[in-house]
Symmetry: C2
Subunit: 184 residues, 2 copies
Protein backbone atom coordinates (compact mmCIF):
# COMPACT_ATOMS: atom_id res chain seq x y z
CA UNK A 1 0.00 0.00 0.00
CA UNK A 2 2.88 2.38 0.60
CA UNK A 3 3.38 2.83 -3.12
CA UNK A 4 -0.25 3.85 -3.54
CA UNK A 5 -0.46 7.56 -4.15
CA UNK A 6 -3.43 9.80 -4.66
CA UNK A 7 -4.90 8.57 -7.91
CA UNK A 8 -7.96 6.34 -7.78
CA UNK A 9 -10.59 5.10 -10.19
CA UNK A 10 -13.94 6.91 -9.94
CA UNK A 11 -16.83 5.03 -8.31
CA UNK A 12 -20.05 5.11 -10.31
CA UNK A 13 -23.38 3.29 -10.36
CA UNK A 14 -25.51 2.03 -13.22
CA UNK A 15 -29.08 0.90 -12.79
CA UNK A 16 -31.05 -1.72 -14.69
CA UNK A 17 -34.60 -0.49 -14.07
CA UNK A 18 -37.25 -3.07 -14.84
CA UNK A 19 -40.54 -1.43 -15.76
CA UNK A 20 -43.23 -3.66 -14.42
CA UNK A 21 -46.75 -4.15 -15.71
CA UNK A 22 -48.20 -6.08 -12.82
CA UNK A 23 -45.84 -9.00 -12.26
CA UNK A 24 -44.52 -8.97 -15.82
CA UNK A 25 -41.49 -7.04 -17.01
CA UNK A 26 -42.35 -4.70 -19.88
CA UNK A 27 -38.70 -3.87 -20.43
CA UNK A 28 -35.81 -1.96 -18.92
CA UNK A 29 -35.01 1.74 -19.12
CA UNK A 30 -32.40 3.24 -21.41
CA UNK A 31 -31.50 6.90 -21.62
CA UNK A 32 -30.20 8.87 -24.56
CA UNK A 33 -27.09 10.70 -23.40
CA UNK A 34 -26.73 14.45 -23.75
CA UNK A 35 -22.98 14.36 -23.14
CA UNK A 36 -20.15 12.39 -24.71
CA UNK A 37 -19.89 9.57 -25.35
CA UNK A 38 -23.21 9.91 -27.21
CA UNK A 39 -25.80 7.20 -27.64
CA UNK A 40 -27.97 5.04 -25.45
CA UNK A 41 -27.00 3.80 -22.01
CA UNK A 42 -28.28 2.59 -18.70
CA UNK A 43 -29.07 5.42 -16.29
CA UNK A 44 -26.17 6.05 -13.92
CA UNK A 45 -23.49 8.38 -12.74
CA UNK A 46 -20.90 9.25 -10.13
CA UNK A 47 -21.17 8.41 -6.48
CA UNK A 48 -20.81 11.46 -4.27
CA UNK A 49 -18.38 11.55 -1.39
CA UNK A 50 -20.43 10.66 1.70
CA UNK A 51 -23.15 8.93 -0.31
CA UNK A 52 -23.84 5.20 -0.32
CA UNK A 53 -23.92 3.32 -3.60
CA UNK A 54 -27.58 2.60 -3.01
CA UNK A 55 -28.46 6.25 -2.44
CA UNK A 56 -26.52 7.18 -5.58
CA UNK A 57 -28.45 4.58 -7.59
CA UNK A 58 -31.83 5.85 -6.40
CA UNK A 59 -30.80 9.47 -6.96
CA UNK A 60 -29.38 8.93 -10.45
CA UNK A 61 -32.42 6.93 -11.50
CA UNK A 62 -34.67 9.74 -10.35
CA UNK A 63 -32.56 12.50 -11.93
CA UNK A 64 -32.25 10.87 -15.32
CA UNK A 65 -35.53 8.97 -15.72
CA UNK A 66 -37.93 10.79 -13.35
CA UNK A 67 -38.75 7.39 -11.84
CA UNK A 68 -38.76 6.46 -8.16
CA UNK A 69 -37.14 3.06 -8.18
CA UNK A 70 -37.13 0.25 -5.67
CA UNK A 71 -33.71 -1.39 -5.51
CA UNK A 72 -33.69 -5.17 -5.80
CA UNK A 73 -30.00 -5.87 -5.44
CA UNK A 74 -26.47 -5.48 -6.68
CA UNK A 75 -25.60 -7.35 -9.86
CA UNK A 76 -21.85 -6.90 -9.56
CA UNK A 77 -19.11 -4.35 -10.07
CA UNK A 78 -17.48 -3.66 -13.46
CA UNK A 79 -14.00 -2.24 -13.40
CA UNK A 80 -12.28 -2.77 -16.76
CA UNK A 81 -10.13 0.37 -17.16
CA UNK A 82 -11.29 0.55 -20.79
CA UNK A 83 -15.01 0.40 -19.98
CA UNK A 84 -15.30 4.20 -20.15
CA UNK A 85 -13.35 5.92 -22.94
CA UNK A 86 -12.77 9.03 -20.84
CA UNK A 87 -11.23 7.71 -17.63
CA UNK A 88 -11.23 4.73 -15.29
CA UNK A 89 -14.57 4.21 -13.60
CA UNK A 90 -15.74 1.34 -11.40
CA UNK A 91 -19.46 0.82 -11.75
CA UNK A 92 -21.54 -1.09 -9.24
CA UNK A 93 -24.61 -2.22 -11.14
CA UNK A 94 -27.99 -2.37 -9.44
CA UNK A 95 -31.19 -4.09 -10.40
CA UNK A 96 -34.25 -1.96 -9.62
CA UNK A 97 -37.95 -1.89 -10.35
CA UNK A 98 -40.37 0.89 -11.08
CA UNK A 99 -43.84 1.46 -12.49
CA UNK A 100 -44.90 4.09 -14.98
CA UNK A 101 -43.23 5.81 -17.89
CA UNK A 102 -39.64 7.05 -17.78
CA UNK A 103 -39.09 10.65 -18.79
CA UNK A 104 -35.61 11.83 -19.73
CA UNK A 105 -34.29 14.65 -17.54
CA UNK A 106 -31.04 16.13 -16.23
CA UNK A 107 -28.30 14.74 -18.48
CA UNK A 108 -30.68 12.41 -20.33
CA UNK A 109 -32.13 13.79 -23.55
CA UNK A 110 -34.81 11.11 -23.53
CA UNK A 111 -35.68 7.79 -21.91
CA UNK A 112 -37.29 4.67 -23.33
CA UNK A 113 -38.52 1.27 -22.22
CA UNK A 114 -36.34 -1.23 -24.04
CA UNK A 115 -36.27 -4.99 -24.55
CA UNK A 116 -32.84 -5.95 -23.17
CA UNK A 117 -32.64 -8.80 -25.70
CA UNK A 118 -32.84 -6.29 -28.57
CA UNK A 119 -29.39 -5.94 -30.08
CA UNK A 120 -30.27 -3.37 -32.74
CA UNK A 121 -29.41 -0.37 -30.54
CA UNK A 122 -25.68 0.19 -29.90
CA UNK A 123 -25.04 0.95 -26.23
CA UNK A 124 -22.35 3.15 -24.69
CA UNK A 125 -19.67 1.91 -22.29
CA UNK A 126 -19.84 -1.82 -21.40
CA UNK A 127 -23.60 -1.68 -21.03
CA UNK A 128 -24.26 -4.37 -23.62
CA UNK A 129 -22.07 -6.73 -21.59
CA UNK A 130 -23.85 -5.72 -18.39
CA UNK A 131 -27.20 -6.45 -20.01
CA UNK A 132 -25.93 -9.79 -21.28
CA UNK A 133 -24.80 -10.70 -17.76
CA UNK A 134 -28.19 -9.58 -16.46
CA UNK A 135 -30.01 -11.72 -19.02
CA UNK A 136 -27.74 -14.66 -18.19
CA UNK A 137 -28.28 -14.31 -14.48
CA UNK A 138 -32.04 -14.39 -14.81
CA UNK A 139 -31.93 -17.66 -16.71
CA UNK A 140 -30.97 -19.64 -13.62
CA UNK A 141 -33.49 -21.40 -11.42
CA UNK A 142 -32.66 -19.23 -8.42
CA UNK A 143 -32.29 -15.44 -8.56
CA UNK A 144 -28.58 -15.02 -7.96
CA UNK A 145 -28.43 -11.44 -6.78
CA UNK A 146 -26.56 -10.25 -3.76
CA UNK A 147 -28.02 -7.30 -1.94
CA UNK A 148 -25.95 -5.73 0.76
CA UNK A 149 -27.71 -2.53 1.68
CA UNK A 150 -30.44 -1.29 -0.57
CA UNK A 151 -31.85 2.11 0.27
CA UNK A 152 -35.33 3.05 -0.79
CA UNK A 153 -36.15 6.51 0.43
CA UNK A 154 -35.83 6.32 4.20
CA UNK A 155 -35.97 2.54 4.47
CA UNK A 156 -33.11 0.12 4.33
CA UNK A 157 -33.63 -3.26 2.74
CA UNK A 158 -31.22 -6.11 3.37
CA UNK A 159 -31.19 -9.66 2.15
CA UNK A 160 -29.38 -12.08 -0.08
CA UNK A 161 -32.29 -12.96 -2.30
CA UNK A 162 -34.61 -11.02 -4.49
CA UNK A 163 -37.59 -12.97 -3.33
CA UNK A 164 -37.08 -12.51 0.37
CA UNK A 165 -36.62 -8.83 0.99
CA UNK A 166 -37.28 -7.60 4.47
CA UNK A 167 -37.03 -4.19 6.03
CA UNK A 168 -34.94 -2.95 8.92
CA UNK A 169 -34.63 0.51 10.45
CA UNK A 170 -32.85 3.24 8.59
CA UNK A 171 -29.09 2.97 8.81
CA UNK A 172 -27.04 5.81 10.08
CA UNK A 173 -25.45 7.56 7.17
CA UNK A 174 -23.08 9.84 8.94
CA UNK A 175 -20.51 11.64 6.90
CA UNK A 176 -17.05 10.15 7.12
CA UNK A 177 -13.93 12.06 7.90
CA UNK A 178 -12.47 13.54 4.79
CA UNK A 179 -8.84 13.11 5.76
CA UNK A 180 -6.95 11.33 3.03
CA UNK A 181 -4.17 9.14 4.31
CA UNK A 182 -2.62 5.78 3.72
CA UNK A 183 -4.79 2.72 4.13
CA UNK A 184 -3.61 -0.80 4.60
CA UNK B 1 -24.50 15.35 -12.48
CA UNK B 2 -23.68 18.99 -13.11
CA UNK B 3 -23.41 19.60 -9.38
CA UNK B 4 -20.90 16.77 -9.06
CA UNK B 5 -17.43 18.17 -8.57
CA UNK B 6 -14.10 16.50 -8.08
CA UNK B 7 -14.53 14.64 -4.82
CA UNK B 8 -15.19 10.91 -4.90
CA UNK B 9 -15.14 8.04 -2.43
CA UNK B 10 -12.07 5.79 -2.68
CA UNK B 11 -12.52 2.35 -4.26
CA UNK B 12 -11.03 -0.50 -2.24
CA UNK B 13 -11.22 -4.29 -2.13
CA UNK B 14 -11.42 -6.71 0.76
CA UNK B 15 -10.90 -10.43 0.38
CA UNK B 16 -12.39 -13.31 2.33
CA UNK B 17 -9.75 -15.99 1.73
CA UNK B 18 -10.94 -19.47 2.56
CA UNK B 19 -8.02 -21.71 3.49
CA UNK B 20 -8.90 -25.13 2.20
CA UNK B 21 -7.82 -28.50 3.52
CA UNK B 22 -8.97 -30.67 0.67
CA UNK B 23 -12.61 -29.79 0.13
CA UNK B 24 -13.13 -28.57 3.67
CA UNK B 25 -12.67 -24.99 4.81
CA UNK B 26 -10.18 -24.70 7.67
CA UNK B 27 -11.00 -21.06 8.18
CA UNK B 28 -10.53 -17.64 6.61
CA UNK B 29 -7.53 -15.32 6.75
CA UNK B 30 -7.30 -12.28 8.99
CA UNK B 31 -4.38 -9.90 9.15
CA UNK B 32 -3.14 -7.82 12.04
CA UNK B 33 -2.86 -4.23 10.84
CA UNK B 34 0.38 -2.27 11.14
CA UNK B 35 -1.33 1.05 10.47
CA UNK B 36 -4.31 2.78 12.04
CA UNK B 37 -6.96 1.80 12.73
CA UNK B 38 -5.23 -1.02 14.62
CA UNK B 39 -6.52 -4.52 15.11
CA UNK B 40 -7.56 -7.45 12.96
CA UNK B 41 -9.11 -7.16 9.54
CA UNK B 42 -9.68 -8.88 6.25
CA UNK B 43 -6.80 -8.42 3.81
CA UNK B 44 -7.50 -5.56 1.42
CA UNK B 45 -6.57 -2.15 0.18
CA UNK B 46 -6.93 0.52 -2.46
CA UNK B 47 -7.61 -0.14 -6.11
CA UNK B 48 -5.03 1.48 -8.38
CA UNK B 49 -6.03 3.67 -11.28
CA UNK B 50 -5.96 1.40 -14.33
CA UNK B 51 -6.32 -1.78 -12.27
CA UNK B 52 -9.40 -4.02 -12.21
CA UNK B 53 -11.03 -4.86 -8.90
CA UNK B 54 -10.09 -8.47 -9.45
CA UNK B 55 -6.42 -7.69 -10.06
CA UNK B 56 -6.40 -5.51 -6.95
CA UNK B 57 -7.89 -8.34 -4.88
CA UNK B 58 -5.29 -10.86 -6.06
CA UNK B 59 -2.48 -8.34 -5.54
CA UNK B 60 -3.54 -7.25 -2.06
CA UNK B 61 -4.02 -10.85 -0.96
CA UNK B 62 -0.51 -11.68 -2.12
CA UNK B 63 1.06 -8.56 -0.59
CA UNK B 64 -0.53 -8.93 2.82
CA UNK B 65 -0.81 -12.70 3.27
CA UNK B 66 1.84 -14.11 0.88
CA UNK B 67 -0.88 -16.35 -0.57
CA UNK B 68 -1.73 -16.80 -4.24
CA UNK B 69 -5.49 -16.83 -4.19
CA UNK B 70 -8.06 -18.05 -6.66
CA UNK B 71 -11.01 -15.70 -6.85
CA UNK B 72 -14.42 -17.30 -6.50
CA UNK B 73 -16.64 -14.27 -6.92
CA UNK B 74 -17.81 -10.92 -5.70
CA UNK B 75 -19.84 -10.90 -2.51
CA UNK B 76 -21.05 -7.33 -2.84
CA UNK B 77 -19.94 -3.74 -2.36
CA UNK B 78 -20.01 -1.93 0.98
CA UNK B 79 -20.23 1.82 0.90
CA UNK B 80 -21.45 3.17 4.23
CA UNK B 81 -19.57 6.49 4.58
CA UNK B 82 -18.85 5.58 8.22
CA UNK B 83 -17.38 2.14 7.45
CA UNK B 84 -13.84 3.53 7.56
CA UNK B 85 -13.13 6.08 10.33
CA UNK B 86 -10.58 7.93 8.18
CA UNK B 87 -12.45 8.68 4.97
CA UNK B 88 -15.15 7.38 2.66
CA UNK B 89 -14.18 4.10 1.01
CA UNK B 90 -16.28 1.78 -1.14
CA UNK B 91 -15.13 -1.80 -0.76
CA UNK B 92 -15.97 -4.53 -3.22
CA UNK B 93 -15.64 -7.78 -1.28
CA UNK B 94 -14.34 -10.91 -2.95
CA UNK B 95 -14.50 -14.52 -1.93
CA UNK B 96 -11.26 -16.36 -2.71
CA UNK B 97 -9.60 -19.65 -1.95
CA UNK B 98 -6.02 -20.62 -1.22
CA UNK B 99 -4.03 -23.48 0.21
CA UNK B 100 -1.16 -23.27 2.68
CA UNK B 101 -0.34 -20.98 5.55
CA UNK B 102 -0.75 -17.21 5.38
CA UNK B 103 2.25 -15.13 6.35
CA UNK B 104 1.81 -11.47 7.23
CA UNK B 105 3.79 -9.10 5.01
CA UNK B 106 3.69 -5.54 3.66
CA UNK B 107 1.27 -3.65 5.88
CA UNK B 108 0.22 -6.78 7.78
CA UNK B 109 2.11 -7.46 11.00
CA UNK B 110 0.85 -11.03 11.03
CA UNK B 111 -1.79 -13.26 9.47
CA UNK B 112 -3.88 -16.05 10.95
CA UNK B 113 -6.44 -18.63 9.90
CA UNK B 114 -9.61 -17.74 11.73
CA UNK B 115 -13.03 -19.29 12.29
CA UNK B 116 -15.38 -16.62 10.88
CA UNK B 117 -18.02 -17.64 13.44
CA UNK B 118 -15.66 -16.70 16.28
CA UNK B 119 -16.83 -13.40 17.77
CA UNK B 120 -14.12 -13.05 20.38
CA UNK B 121 -11.79 -11.00 18.15
CA UNK B 122 -12.89 -7.41 17.46
CA UNK B 123 -12.50 -6.56 13.78
CA UNK B 124 -11.69 -3.21 12.19
CA UNK B 125 -13.99 -1.36 9.77
CA UNK B 126 -17.28 -3.14 8.93
CA UNK B 127 -15.53 -6.48 8.59
CA UNK B 128 -17.67 -8.20 11.23
CA UNK B 129 -20.75 -7.28 9.20
CA UNK B 130 -19.08 -8.49 6.00
CA UNK B 131 -18.28 -11.82 7.66
CA UNK B 132 -21.84 -12.09 8.96
CA UNK B 133 -23.15 -11.51 5.44
CA UNK B 134 -20.69 -14.11 4.15
CA UNK B 135 -21.82 -16.65 6.75
CA UNK B 136 -25.44 -15.89 5.91
CA UNK B 137 -24.89 -16.24 2.19
CA UNK B 138 -23.29 -19.68 2.54
CA UNK B 139 -26.38 -21.02 4.31
CA UNK B 140 -28.41 -21.06 1.11
CA UNK B 141 -28.80 -24.16 -1.01
CA UNK B 142 -27.20 -22.56 -4.07
CA UNK B 143 -23.95 -20.58 -4.04
CA UNK B 144 -25.24 -17.12 -4.76
CA UNK B 145 -22.12 -15.36 -5.91
CA UNK B 146 -21.87 -13.12 -8.90
CA UNK B 147 -18.53 -13.13 -10.68
CA UNK B 148 -18.03 -10.55 -13.35
CA UNK B 149 -14.36 -10.71 -14.18
CA UNK B 150 -12.10 -12.74 -11.94
CA UNK B 151 -8.42 -12.48 -12.68
CA UNK B 152 -6.10 -15.25 -11.65
CA UNK B 153 -2.58 -14.62 -12.83
CA UNK B 154 -2.80 -14.21 -16.59
CA UNK B 155 -6.15 -15.87 -17.01
CA UNK B 156 -9.55 -14.31 -16.91
CA UNK B 157 -12.42 -16.27 -15.46
CA UNK B 158 -16.00 -15.27 -16.09
CA UNK B 159 -19.23 -16.79 -14.99
CA UNK B 160 -22.25 -16.29 -12.82
CA UNK B 161 -21.82 -19.33 -10.65
CA UNK B 162 -19.07 -20.61 -8.45
CA UNK B 163 -19.48 -24.13 -9.68
CA UNK B 164 -19.22 -23.39 -13.37
CA UNK B 165 -16.11 -21.34 -13.89
CA UNK B 166 -14.64 -21.35 -17.35
CA UNK B 167 -11.64 -19.62 -18.84
CA UNK B 168 -11.42 -17.13 -21.65
CA UNK B 169 -8.43 -15.31 -23.15
CA UNK B 170 -6.78 -12.59 -21.14
CA UNK B 171 -8.70 -9.35 -21.32
CA UNK B 172 -7.06 -6.24 -22.60
CA UNK B 173 -6.26 -4.02 -19.70
CA UNK B 174 -5.42 -0.86 -21.50
CA UNK B 175 -5.03 2.23 -19.44
CA UNK B 176 -7.99 4.52 -19.63
CA UNK B 177 -7.74 8.14 -20.51
CA UNK B 178 -7.05 10.20 -17.46
CA UNK B 179 -9.10 13.17 -18.50
CA UNK B 180 -11.53 14.01 -15.75
CA UNK B 181 -14.72 15.49 -17.01
CA UNK B 182 -18.40 15.41 -16.41
CA UNK B 183 -20.14 12.10 -16.74
CA UNK B 184 -23.83 11.63 -17.15
Amino acid sequence: MARRKFRNPFPTVDIIIEIMAGRKRRGIVLIERKNPPPGWALPGGFVDYGETLEAAAVREAREETSLDVELVGQLGAYSDPARDPRFHTISTVFLARAAGEPKGADDARSAIVFDPRDRSLPLAFDHRKILDDYLGSTKGPVPCLKTTTAVRDDRVVRDNRVARLRTTPTSSRSRASSARSKRT
